[in-house]
Structures are given as structure tokens and as C-alpha cells.
């Protein structure tokens, strides 16, 4: 059988595949793979029993529940309301539209500690918003609800910025076609528009969720950090580090890493499915 040369690069008028590819690999290696692998290398210093004792401690299990649960709820809230915001920004024109569009990115740009302090001030039992929560016999600051609020705040831009460009390219003729076939507004949205937006929504959800999982700065102020109740996992990693328990911190980190990797993989598979189900055969 004749050997066929491996064809990776295509003819291009802009050469430089070797250089750029080499740089990409080096860059990713130094910036992503190497730091992440040290987590596992450090964790390898302890045996399985020790590992299990650290990562399955009741205080940690409580923090996993809060971290993953609150991140999931926050990402879900952002998916719904992010879609709404993106819809308004794309479909309607109104005075101040550009200002609102700019405000969306603020949670990106703001130092997270600033967000934490402001949110805590607002939602504290005597804060501007917190007092209404107290009135409803609810507490926002220093409860899991506060954590969800902080995570919702920082995750907003992801969904909006993922959905916005897709909505902009969405052809209004399809909606008109659906209407001319007798579909009402809800049917037009759920059966025609929503399926087109689903991949972008899933991607936005995944990003908001990932960001919320890793969030530290804005949460530690509003959560109150009460053991078993409002401690998030990244905080426990910090605590271990402050006690010079590097192996312990890395053990927790590796759990976070593996779980979030699997969750992202799941969302990506879902996204891949939603994009490709109408083209594959």
C-alpha cells in the first residue's frame, strides 16, 4: 500500500502553520496543562485513605453541595434572564440601548471583591434591598441565597454575549413563515426560535456555570462563611492553604477540577448534539 503523506495543513497564501501551531501548543502547555497537572502531582503525595478522608469530610461535602448547587441555580437564572436581556437588546430599539448594552459587561470588568462588598451592603439585613427580604421573613446576605445572588451577578454577561450574536443573525422570515402557517406567538417562539438558540444558550450556561464554580471574591463577603452552611469549596481550599496544608488543598482542588471538567464535557456534548442533530446522517 502506498504511503500517503499526512495532510494537516492546507495550501494557504498566509504561511506559518508550523510556527503558530508550535506556539499554541507551548502556550497551552505552560498556561493550562502544566499548572493543572501540578494539582494532581501534589495530590499524589498522599495515599487514597488520606485523600478520601480529606475530600469526603462532612464540612467539605456541605461545601460541594453549596458550590455546585448555587452555581447551577445561578447559571440557570442567567440563562433565562440573559436570553430575555439579549432579546430586548437585539429586537427593540429604545433610547439608552447602548448604555444598557455596555452595562452588561460590567460584572466582567469589576474586581470581584468590589462586587462582593456592594452586594453585601445591599443585601445585609439592614441594607437597601436586604430590609425587604427581612420583611418577607427571608435572609439574603449570609445565607445560600446570598451566594446565588452573587453568582448570578457575575455570570450575567456570559449568556447575553453568547445569545446576542445568534439572535442578530436569526432570519425573521422563519418567524413570518411560522405565523403564516398559523402558529401563534408562543408556538413561533418555542418551536422555531428557541431550537435555533439552544446551542448558544447551552454554551452561555456552561460558561456562566464554570465561572460561578470558580468564583471566590464576590462570594466570601456575602456568604458569611459559616461552616456546614455557607462555605463554598474555593474558600475551603484557601483555608487549607492558609494552614500550609498543601496536599489537602490540592486534593480538594483535584475534585473540583475533575467534576467541573466532567460537567463542562457534558454541556459540550449536549451543545454538539443540539448543533448537529439536524445535519448528521
Amino acid at each position: 500500500m502506498p504511503l500517503r503523506p499526512l495532510e494537516i495543513k492546507k495550501y494557504s497564501i498566509l504561511p506559518g502553520f508550523g510556527l503558530t501551531m508550535g506556539f499554541t501548543l507551548m502556550y497551552m502547555g505552560f498556561l493550562v496543562v502544566l499548572p493543572l497537572s501540578t494539582v494532581f502531582i501534589q495530590t499524589a503525595g498522599i495515599d487514597w485513605t488520606q485523600f478520601w478522608n480529606i475530600v469526603a469530610a462532612p464540612r467539605l461535602v456541605a461545601s460541594y453541595k453549596l458550590s455546585f448547587g448555587a452555581a447551577f441555580i445561578a447559571a440557570l437564572i442567567n440563562t433565562i434572564f440573559g436570553l430575555l436581556v439579549a432579546w430586548v437588546l437585539v429586537r427593540y430599539s429604545f433610547p439608552g440601548k447602548r448604555v444598557i448594552d455596555g452595562l452588561i459587561d460590567l460584572p466582567f470588568a469589576l474586581p470581584t471583591a468590589v462586587a462582593g462588598i456592594t452586594l453585601t451592603t445591599l443585601y445585609a439585613p439592614h441594607g437597601w434591598l436586604g430590609k425587604y427580604f427581612t420583611f418577607l421573613a427571608l435572609k439574603a446576605a449570609f445565607t445560600p441565597l446570598g451566594v446565588v445572588i452573587a453568582l448570578t451577578f457575575i455570570g450575567l454577561p456570559f449568556v447575553v454575549r453568547m445569545v446576542q450574536p445568534v439572535l442578530e443573525t436569526l432570519d425573521q422570515e422563519r418567524e413570518e413563515a411560522a405565523a403564516s402557517l398559523g402558529a401563534d406567538r408562543l408556538q413561533t417562539f418555542t418551536k422555531v426560535i428557541f431550537p435555533e438558540l439552544l446551542p448558544a444558550l447551552l454554551a452561555g450556561f456552561a460558561l456562566a456555570f464554570a465561572r460561578a464554580l470558580g468564583e471566590y471574591g464576590s462570594v466570601v463577603f456575602i456568604s458569611g462563611n459559616m461552616p456546614m452552611r455557607t462555605e463554598i469549596t474555593p474558600l475551603l481550599i484557601m483555608t487549607k492553604l492558609e494552614q500550609f496544608d498543601y496536599a489537602g488543598a490540592n486534593a480538594i482542588a483535584s475534585v473540583m477540577l475533575i467534576v467541573s471538567f466532567m460537567l463542562l464535557l457534558l454541556v459540550n456534548i449536549l451543545q454538539w448534539w443540539s448543533i448537529n442533530r439536524h445535519t448528521d446522517h
Binding site: E173, A178, A179, S180, G182, Q187, T279
Partner: protein
């Protein structure tokens, strides 16, 4: 179902898209709205469908006022130029859409929907492709699916917005013949928009020619082609040669020649534009009378049974297009660069102060 359009006006900001349009379309007719881009033909179609709202005027379906009905209530089938198929649905799901979205009490059973889809797939000759997605179909196939989707809800009016505009020439011709046959079978009142005069002449029962938001002329293809009411219509419906001249008391002078035009006997020294179709240009080697204009052959395209020539008039320097039969061409033995004499026959003369090209 018959459609009546009364005094429709439509403005987009300061731009007037339609000016006082009145039009009656009777049941079972196939009407073409023909015009250049920006003539308002698509706007008119969208107003009939309820996708656009007119500033003034009303639309009557079967004599009943339908102006205030929205697009869902009008029960029209609308076919878009770029198909507007639902990308995440298969061909059969696309076709079934209009039936599946009906409220429960009027929705056919799953079995009936399946049967209807099958029947339409037979009609559009895509039986084997029921489970394909739109991206896996060719342009012509997609447009047929779009048509089947519109027909599934059994509309009483079918509206098509440049339905073949995005297809290549051969498919376009096939599909428009197919549409004509389909119309003859189904007899659903149909209106289609096109900027292609050949398409309109080939398919429609009646042609409505629009220009600048107004109806220039309407009539059967023969009527509008043979008896154009305005220079615009004459120009728009086919290749033409323009002869600028002056008209005075029933005689028109075009360059070096003069012709009798009894219909303008009372015109006094007016600018006139004469139109001649390329096949009405006679070519001779020798001038046989004073109606012949000397010209030089610039270019000959002799592919097919009709030979196309481009000539330059010696007197004014204007270009003239002519068409000859192959036999005539061979008898004359013409070559590029030769000097000949041309005679325009069957001139259409319009006196027009404001019309210029």
C-alpha cells in the same frame, strides 16, 4: 378565493412604496407582480399576506374585509425567496408544521397528518427525502418543500415572493413549469412576485407591472407584450433598441430617416422615443429606400438558431441590437466590421417629456 385590493398606500418613513393600488384577482387565477427592484411588488405581496400593514386602503378576501385580520387569521400560504425552512426540522416535520400547531380541536390526528405529508411529498416528488434536513437538500428541492409546507394547511391563496430568484437558470425554468402544472391541478388563487419578465410571461395568467409603487399596466402576457401602454412596460418586457427622434405632424425623424406615424398626427415638434425589438431590425447589404440606416457590424454571436448582432449606426453612432434567423444570416454572409444597412420595423413610439434612459 378572490382578492380585492382597494386604494392601498404604503410609506416607509418618507419613502412611498405603494401609491393608490387597486387590483382585483379572481378565484383560481395565477397572477404575476412584475417590476424592477424597489417597485413595491414585494411590499404589495406582504400586505396581501398580512406580514405588512398598509397606511391606507383595504384588502378584501371573497368580498369580505380582511384588512384587520393578522397573518395567522388570513390563511394564506406564503413562500419566501430564501425558502425560510425550519432548519432543525426534517422535511416531513417542516411540511407538518402548519397542521401540528393548530389548536387541539381543529388539529388532525397524527395519522391524518402523516397521510397529508405523504401526499404532499408525492406531489413535490421528494418521497425518499422525508427524513432529510433542509441543509441536505438542493435549492430547488428546498423551494419545493417550502411550497409543500405552505400547501399543507390548504390555503385559499398562495403567495410567492420571488420563489425562483435564488435558483440557477435551469432549475428555475423547470420549477416554474412545475408550478404552472401544479396550479392547473389545484386551482388555488396564486400571486407571485418576480423581476424576471420571462418568468412572468411564461407562467402567469395575468401580469401586473409595477413601477415606482404604481401599477403601470395589467393584462394577459400577450396583451402587455404586444400592446404595452407605456415606454416603461415596453422596455421592461424584453430587449429593445431605442431611437431618439423628433415627432412633428405625424412624421417622426430618427437620425437620417423619416417615417410616417399617423397616430401622432397632431403632435407638434415633440421629443419622441421609438422602441424596436431586436428581431424587428431588418438587415440588407444595399439600401433599398430612404428608410435604411447605414451601420457597421461590431459583433456577431451566432450560437443557436438565432444570430445576435451588435451594430453601430453610422449617422448618430448609437448602438443597435439585431436578431436574425440562421438562414438569413447565412444568406447575407455577414462578418464583423462590414458596413450594412438596417431598417427598423414595427416601431413603438412614445412621446415622453420626463422619461429618459
Amino acid at each position: 378565493m378572490s382578492i380585492e385590493i382597494r386604494n392601498i398606500n404604503k410609506q416607509f418613513g418618507s419613502f412611498t412604496a405603494l401609491k393608490d393600488i387597486n387590483l382585483k384577482i379572481s378565484t383560481g387565477e395565477l397572477v404575476a407582480l412584475l417590476g424592477p427592484s424597489g417597485s413595491g411588488k414585494t411590499t404589495l405581496l406582504r400586505i396581501i399576506a398580512g406580514l405588512e400593514v398598509a397606511n391606507q386602503g383595504c384588502i378584501l378576501f371573497n368580498g369580505e374585509d380582511a384588512t384587520s385580520r393578522n397573518v395567522q387569521q388570513r390563511h394564506v400560504g406564503f413562500v419566501f425567496q430564501h425558502y425560510a425552512l425550519f432548519r432543525h426540522m426534517t422535511v416531513s416535520e417542516n411540511i407538518a408544521f402548519g397542521l401540528k400547531v393548530r389548536p387541539r380541536h381543529t388539529r388532525p390526528s397524527a395519522k391524518e397528518i402523516q397521510a397529508k405529508v405523504q401526499q404532499l411529498l408525492d406531489l413535490i416528488k421528494l418521497e425518499g427525502l422525508a427524513n432529510r434536513y433542509p441543509t441536505q437538500l438542493s435549492g430547488g428541492q428546498r423551494q419545493r418543500v417550502a411550497l409543500a409546507r405552505a400547501l399543507a394547511v390548504e390555503p385559499q391563496v398562495l403567495l410567492l415572493d420571488e420563489p425562483f430568484g435564488a435558483l440557477d437558470a435551469k432549475v428555475r425554468k423547470e420549477l416554474r413549469r412545475w408550478l404552472r402544472r401544479l396550479h392547473d391541478e389545484l386551482h388555488v388563487t396564486s400571486v407571485f412576485v418576480t423581476h424576471d419578465q420571462e418568468e412572468a410571461l411564461d407562467v402567469a395568467d395575468r401580469i401586473v407591472i409595477l413601477n415606482d409603487g404604481q401599477i403601470e399596466q395589467m393584462g394577459t402576457p400577450e396583451e402587455v407584450y404586444e400592446h404595452p401602454k407605456s415606454s416603461f412596460v415596453y422596455d421592461f418586457l424584453g430587449n429593445v433598441n431605442l431611437f431618439h427622434g423628433r415627432i412633428h405632424q405625424g412624421r417622426v425623424s430618427i437620425g437620417s430617416i423619416e417615417l410616417d406615424v399617423p397616430e401622432y398626427a397632431d403632435a407638434v415638434d415633440k421629443q419622441a422615443v421609438s422602441y424596436v425589438r431586436p428581431y424587428n431590425i431588418e438587415i440588407e447589404r444595399e439600401a433599398q429606400g430612404q428608410e435604411f440606416i447605414p451601420a457597421r457590424i461590431l459583433f456577431i454571436r451566432s450560437v443557436g438558431p438565432i444570430v445576435h448582432l451588435e451594430l453601430k449606426r453610422e449617422d448618430t453612432g448609437d448602438l443597435v441590437e439585431a436578431e436574425l434567423s440562421k438562414e438569413r444570416y447565412q444568406a447575407l454572409q455577414l462578418k464583423a466590421g462590414e458596413n450594412v444597412f438596417v431598417k427598423p420595423k414595427d416601431l413603438k413610439i412614445f412621446i415622453h417629456e420626463d422619461y429618459c434612459i
